[in-house]
């Protein structure tokens, strides 16, 4: 009898050990990467093109960043520029010559090898017509390719932001086959010619619905360990699908229902309810954007600096940010946030003054007599929410605000006409590695801020390469920014994306640095 019981106990024990082994094994298997499957992303807006060189909007690079590569990559975990299609690069002592040694044996998706000829044609097209090429164009003397794997850029004068610009994906110089780059010129590259060197190649695009990318089997990853977007890229998924899902609820429920693995740009006021849901993982990135009230400094009432200073004195940023971002706004006035190397406290006493009395005195001194101040308002988040509170605060303080609501295309069209507006609200990236390339600095950007003081300090800023001197210059710039008030910085805000939980997607990473606003679907796999 006892023997029988012994036997039963032993058998049960053996069975339990076996079970735990099987569970262990399957657990280990789910941890180790495996190939296959489709990674599905929900984008919040339609793609204008995948010719990422020609547009600075974000989504083309969210997709195209898998197809195209640059010489250098700037989206890294360690914050340093890292080689991508270049093997290495050197800068001459006078900062006028940049030499790039290229990786050898890299194949384009059409099978041809990437050489310095392709790099030259691509960078040349970018300098002439690329969305961000115009910023660097005045500084570049010439390009050359002395041999098959060497590419050189010669400058007329030192230009510090050049390397970060070369690393840009959205609006930066991605490398295309030379023939395609030359043939396209100013025109957008057609979908048949979306040929790059990245780990995924272009598959299919159904407008308004989805883009499909397929794994490029001849991709040779770099040897260095993965570092953000740089380093070793291993494409585990067979295909990537980017679906256009404009409705917020459809993106949120799509993740919950297991239909998508990743969803972009959710309104930050959903944060509190989403973060409690165990079925999803909320990706909250450190402040990625800052929002601002832009003035028309060229024409009309707000060409008067005194009136702009008066408006700055009114605003209560805590209220404004709370209305648009809930808990995920950050009321801080440095143009670039603390997470970047360009944070400075210069002139911050003028930020968030909340002083309507002072504002009225300043306005009267500036000769303001209650005339209409026309505000262009985009009917989309966050511009609409921000504008509503700004207008309310200004009206309460005694300013006469004419609130004109358009869709975003309407705002873009009206703001380029100097006689049509006084102010509008928009946002800008807070994570450029070099402030010198911010688009709002351009004198042709609506607002047309173009004073001699600004131009002088910016010239010093971009022509120096020493970081300490540059930070000093940038602080000086921020002083001018708060005196001349071309734009009122309202604050920073977090970016909210959403992903399926670890059960459904492995290797997504946990970095919340704001630079990860672009998705990259390599080194990730399905369980």
């Amino acid at each position: 009898m006892r023997k029988k019981r012994m036997k039963a106990v032993l058998l049960t024990g053996f069975f339990l050990v076996l079970c735990s082994l099987v569970i262990d094994l399957s657990f280990a298997r789910s941890q180790s990467p495996k190939y296959g499957g489709t990674f599905k992303v929900a984008l919040d807006a339609e793609l204008p093109t995948l010719d990422t060189m020609m547009t600075s909007t974000d989504h083309p690079y969210d997709v195209g960043g898998h197809v195209f590569e640059n010489l250098i990559q700037y989206i890294t975990d360690d914050g340093k520029l890292s080689p991508e299609l270049a093997d290495s690069w050197t800068v001459s002592k006078d900062n006028l010559k940049f030499t790039f040694k290229l990786r050898q044996g890299v194949r384009f998706h059409n099978g041809s090898e990437m050489t310095s000829e392709d790099v030259l044609a691509s960078v040349d097209r970018w300098l002439q017509y690329g969305a961000r090429g115009g910023i660097a164009r005045p500084y570049v003397d010439r390009l050359s390719n002395p041999d098959k794997y060497t590419f050189e850029i010669y400058l007329k004068e030192p230009y510090a932001p050049l390397l970060s610009l070369l690393g840009f994906g959205n609006g930066g110089p991605v490398i295309l086959p030379g023939a395609i780059a030359r043939a396209a010129g100013r025109e957008m590259v057609a979908p048949d010619n979306y040929i790059g060197t990245g780990p995924y190649k272009f598959g299919k695009w159904v407008q308004g619905e989805y883009v499909r990318l397929d794994r490029w089997d001849k991709y040779v990853p770099r040897k260095e360990p993965a570092n953000g977007r740089a380093g070793k890229k291993i494409a585990y998924f067979d295909t990537l699908e980017f679906h256009i899902v404009t409705e917020v609820a459809a993106r949120v429920n799509g993740i919950k229902a297991g239909q998508y693995h990743y969803a972009f740009n959710l309104p930050t006021d959903l944060y509190q309810s989403l973060v409690k849901d165990p079925k999803i993982r909320v990706v909250k990135l450190e402040p990625t954007y800052w929002c601002g009230l832009n003035f028309n400094t060229k024409q009309g009432l707000c060409a008067n600096q005194g009136l702009r200073q008066a408006i700055l004195a009114v605003l209560n940023m805590d209220e404004i940010l709370a209305a648009a971002f809930g808990d995920l706004g950050v009321a801080q006035g440095s143009i670039f946030p603390k997470s970047t190397p360009w944070y400075t406290e210069a002139a911050l006493n003028k930020y968030n003054q909340k002083n309507p009395k002072l504002a009225i005195q300043l306005a009267q001194k500036a000769g303001y007599k209650g005339e209409k101040i026309r505000m262009l308002v985009g009917n989309l988040w966050p511009a609409y929410e921000l504008s509503q509170v700004i207008a309310k605060q200004l009206k309460d303080a005694g300013f006469n605000v004419d609130f004109q609501v358009y869709d975003w295309a309407g705002v873009v069209a009206n703001r380029k006409e100097p006689d049509k507006w006084e102010m509008f609200t928009t946002y800008a990236s807070a994570v450029y590695y070099d402030p010198g390339i911010s688009y709002w600095l351009s004198p042709t950007y609506p607002g047309w801020w173009d004073t001699p003081e600004k131009l002088a300090i910016l010239k010093d800023f971009v022509s120096t390469t020493d970081y300490k001197t540059r930070l000093k210059n940038w602080s000086g710039f921020q002083e001018i920014f708060y005196t001349q008030v071309p734009i009122i910085k309202l604050g920073d805000y977090y970016t909210l994306h959403m992903a399926a939980t670890e059960t459904y997607i492995k290797g997504l990473g946990t970095s919340t640095h704001s630079i990860h606003t672009f998705i990259y679907a390599w080194n990730m796999w399905l369980p």
Binding site: Y129, G254, G410, N414
Partner: protein
């Protein structure tokens, strides 16, 4: 009669021409051009200008309008600015989902609406009638987008029985199972409409049941089921069918909302997308299509009336 049809048909031509010109002008009255949206905030003025010129949007409006009309007369609606696909094939591709949703929803709300209406009418003032009419009123008062979001939350996000959004197509993929993507959108349109149709059917049916010929039928000793189905139902259905017909047109406008909520690539969403992106050729063709549908339905109605009612003068 033939002469009347031809004359009536010919009147459609100037109507469509006027509709076309008005659509064209309205679209170009909205500020904004596609080039600015495509190139992004950093694009310099020269690039925007070059792209605008290439697309032909730098020319005076009347020349653009004239060129467009010329093309339309050859039944060429141009190509979408974004996808470079011919607009006609783009719309044809998008029509699949919209037609399926409209038909599916109409079948659902007609069947259930009429069924519930008859049951209520026959059992007038019973508890069954009270419950179904209260429910009908509740359903009819719910905004459809709200119903859609709740259905999505329950059947997709929580229960995971059905996909939450999108529609991969049946014709292109060949997978009939993809129809499951359209269940929730169809239900969303059908639920409030079922309520309305049920209430209408009930009231028409009650009117008919109080008519003398029904009494006559009953006094002849006919079975109640024969009285209801053969005599009452057919007459009660005539106005209901007219309402269902006009409802079909309303589904077109509802589909703009429902297709956005469920992210279904249909014609309704294409309208919204092309407005936001200023995709002029697509938008113009879509507006012409919608105007054409209305004009054509009116044309059909006029002819049917003429056939039904001989008092209508043909000259």
């Amino acid at each position: 009669m033939t002469e009347f049809i031809i004359r009536r048909f010919l009147i459609m031509v100037p109507v469509m021409l006027m509709a076309g010109i008005i659509c064209f002008l309205l679209i170009h009255l909205i500020p904004g051009t596609p080039a600015e949206l495509m190139l992004g905030v950093n694009a310099d003025a020269a690039s925007i200008e070059a792209l605008t010129k290439k697309m032909g949007y730098d020319q005076p409006l009347y020349i653009q309008c004239f060129k467009w009309l010329q093309m339309v007369l050859k039944l060429d609606f141009g190509r979408s600015i974004y996808s470079q696909q011919p607009v006609i094939s783009l719309i044809a591709h998008r029509a699949e989902a919209s037609i399926l949703i409209a038909c599916g929803a109409t079948i659902l709300f007609s069947f259930f609406g009429i069924l519930v209406g008859i049951i209520s009418a026959v059992n007038r003032n019973s508890w069954l009638d009270q419950i179904s009419m209260t429910l009908s009123l509740t359903f009819a008062s719910m905004p459809s987008f709200w119903i859609g979001l709740n259905l999505m939350l329950i059947f997709a996000a929580t229960l995971r029985w059905l996909p939450s959004s999108g529609y991969p197509g049946v014709i292109e993929s060949g997978h009939i199972s993809n129809l499951q993507y359209l269940i929730l959108p169809c239900l969303t349109i059908a639920i409030p409409s079922t309520g309305l149709i049920a209430r209408l059917t009930r009231s028409f049916f009650i009117d008919i049941l109080s008519m003398e010929y029904i009494n006559t039928a009953r006094s002849k000793g006919l079975k109640e089921s024969v009285v209801l189905i053969k005599h009452a139902l057919r007459n009660a259905l005539i106005p209901v069918v007219a309402v269902i017909g006009s409802y079909f047109a309303e589904i077109v406008s509802l589909s703009v909302v429902i297709e956005t909520v469920f992210n279904v690539p249909g014609v309704g969403r294409l309208v919204v997308e092309s407005i936001l992106q200023r995709d002029y050729p697509t938008l113009q063709a879509l507006l012409m299509l919608i105007a054409g549908l209305y004009v054509f339905i009116n044309f059909l109605c006029d002819i049917i009336y003429a056939i039904l009612d001989p008092r209508i003068q043909y000259d």
